[in-house]
Symmetry: C2
Amino acid sequence: MVWDPAFESAFHPKVVAIVGISAKASLNSPGGTRFLNTYQKMGFAGKIYLVNVNATEILGYKAYPSVSAIPEPVDLVIITAPAKAIPEILEDCIAAKAKNVHLFTAGFEETGVEEAKELGKRVREIALRGGIRMLGPNCMGLYVPEGHIGYMHVPPLKSGPVSYVFQSGGHSDWFSQHGPNYGIYFSKGISYGNGYVLDSPDFLEYLASDPETKIICMYLEGVRDGQRLLKLVRETNLQKPIIIWKGGLTEAGSKAVSSHTGSLVGQSAIWQALFAQTGAVQVSSPEEMAETTMTFLYVKKPAGKRVGVIGMGGGVSVYAADACGREGLELPSLSQSTRDELNKFIPEAGGSTKNPVDCGAVFVDVSLLVREMDLVAADPSIDIVILMPHLNLARNIGPEQVDKLVNYMTDFALNNRYNKPVVIVFHSFINEDWENELSTKLKIELPQKGVAVYNTLSGAARALAGFCRYQRTREDFTRVNS
Amino acid sequence: MVWDPAFESAFHPKVVAIVGISAKASLNSPGGTRFLNTYQKMGFAGKIYLVNVNATEILGYKAYPSVSAIPEPVDLVIITAPAKAIPEILEDCIAAKAKNVHLFTAGFEETGVEEAKELGKRVREIALRGGIRMLGPNCMGLYVPEGHIGYMHVPPLKSGPVSYVFQSGGHSDWFSQHGPNYGIYFSKGISYGNGYVLDSPDFLEYLASDPETKIICMYLEGVRDGQRLLKLVRETNLQKPIIIWKGGLTEAGSKAVSSHTGSLVGQSAIWQALFAQTGAVQVSSPEEMAETTMTFLYVKKPAGKRVGVIGMGGGVSVYAADACGREGLELPSLSQSTRDELNKFIPEAGGSTKNPVDCGAVFVDVSLLVREMDLVAADPSIDIVILMPHLNLARNIGPEQVDKLVNYMTDFALNNRYNKPVVIVFHSFINEDWENELSTKLKIELPQKGVAVYNTLSGAARALAGFCRYQRTREDFTRVNS
């Protein structure tokens, strides 16, 4: 099946039907009630119809015996009924011409049970025969802040330029909820589970042409049409960065996939070829997905991969150099003229003006930090600046000076006149309440302002290296294609 | 130089001299004042003499013109004077028979300046000729909670079984301060910088025979006598686990080392051989050092590397399996009888009783968690249990039930009747104040109670894999040697 524009009404539905809320449900019940709950809390302004043949009223809603009995066209049907009831419900949807269906229900081939596999086949056949545009089964469905629809724990109502296509509802939930900690907000979130009808290439095709989507994140376990996915990723990635987490690349992971979405994971080598041939950015954990997305959102495009690190302490400098070097970033020495200027306020003993630049004093004196940042960013051998302030020094200077330092770093990252990318890693803070608080606050607040802040140096180096590779690959591909 | 027992008085000094505090110093001055400050705050009960030829009183202390002028034997001399003054001060120490010297001062070969290199050579020659047991130069010196001595930011006063030998003062400071977040407390912390006289093998030899040290952590940039280090690591590692972070293994890192301690880093292959030949555990970041140390401290010794994972959500299960598989851990299927029992309360649809075991319900119902934990831990195919509670479910059950769950997990990790290792990863929590607080609290409090808690699944898998490899290697080596 290829993308059908008629599915778009599912992203901004005006009329939604939920099939499968029990007649005795309370607002805390799992399943369909969770959608009802979330839609209400997100301020969904459309109409919601509940369908249950055994009830006349549920949770204050009039209950309809079938989708066909609903007196108006339905934009989106959410089905949370037990697996065995699905064929009949789908036939009802077909009869009602309600073709946008999100099948939340699990319990098909992923159980490994023969009977359930057969049922899954039947469900898929019915959907295909009836032209049902099905999302699922075994998935959370759609999260669209602008449409005021979402799932599970109420996700943020603020929209953003990132969309995701995830084969896992748990990862979808994590990403929607934790995204804001990294300054990430979403346009469309798609959790599609076993992907019987609509599969990752369908969603990718849609997001590629969606003007509100600028960055695409994918969590994939398998795909039905690998060639189509490869072609679409290759084409789309040139316009919008695609960040892919492929689950099940190890033997143990592949076994776990069979219990999850029942997908055929494909050989690891095939997926490695997809990354090589498309230039898509590969990640392998939720945290890495989030840090990489933040990087694409907020880090200015670097001219190259030569990093200048501003930190404190020789050991941390070695760590920074190793972490960057391991990921393929370069740390050139600063030019002699930059070093001469730095040496005017950085002592040779206990400091360094090579690269990393090591000088604790700048983290207690804004005027020194201003000079240092400016000199390093100005150096023609540097493409990216990593700034590693040591919050534990803050105890000596008081909250007012800390604010000044943070404001300066923020401003420099956002508006430096060299237009170079500047990111922050808070490496060190002391385990005292106010410093823990300060660190947590900054790590969450600065990304909201558009400054990339990383929890660890290794994480920063990995994300930046992926970002640099992407820029280079895109240029290469564009050159070849032009 | 080999270890001289006379240096031991430096770890529990009764009389300390600080050389190099300026006559005009305030309590906020850097350098020597920081030691004075920290010693006072740590309740150091011995005597402190300040030495400065240009003063008669500093910060309320009588100032002595030289170490020789101090009227009693000095256990430890801390020198923070400028580099050019060091030769003369060392001669004074020799004359005073004060042979335990911590040379904080930097500014030697690590500056790259010819004159400073020469000065460093001279300093080393004087120290060797005079039989000075020198720690440094360019280092923080000693942190011994029991001796009430430490450096920089006041470190914890509580003692523990971990000792470290770090060539970086910044890493030493980080580890001392952040250790408690991982349940790590220290017996001896040694920051030794450029290692002119006493070098890593000397400290290792001491810690190997120190009854208070059970685990040894090392951060190394280079070593003067590699063969001696290899021999000592190999021997000691059989008795006490040695966790080593080698800085400067990349080209960029090796350049940074030359600006830090000026050490010759050695070829990467040589260090890889050291790890292979000794079975020492390799780490490569401060966080990994801390998580690995926590693992050795608190995780029961596993019979093998077969992991059972208890989590929630199919995607998280795939992530867990991939993360473990990548590190070489195994995830066997649970036995049929275990699965039959689990199936009594874990639904086939939307759950899994293979491995990882996927069932959200157990995180909202203590009685289900009790059954699940017991069944998985009892399974003969499982050596280690990773538990991944989802704190976001806690919002549905209230603080009292959360306490019950946490207490049960703690108790099971500490006292399960199968005597199997059980660790925790808090994967998911919602970005709301109380859940952030709960998560931070648990991540810090549980390790204090002896339960290993990891920030990420990847981190847990890496630390556990290193732990398993260590156990196996130790058995192999012991067999070969016996």
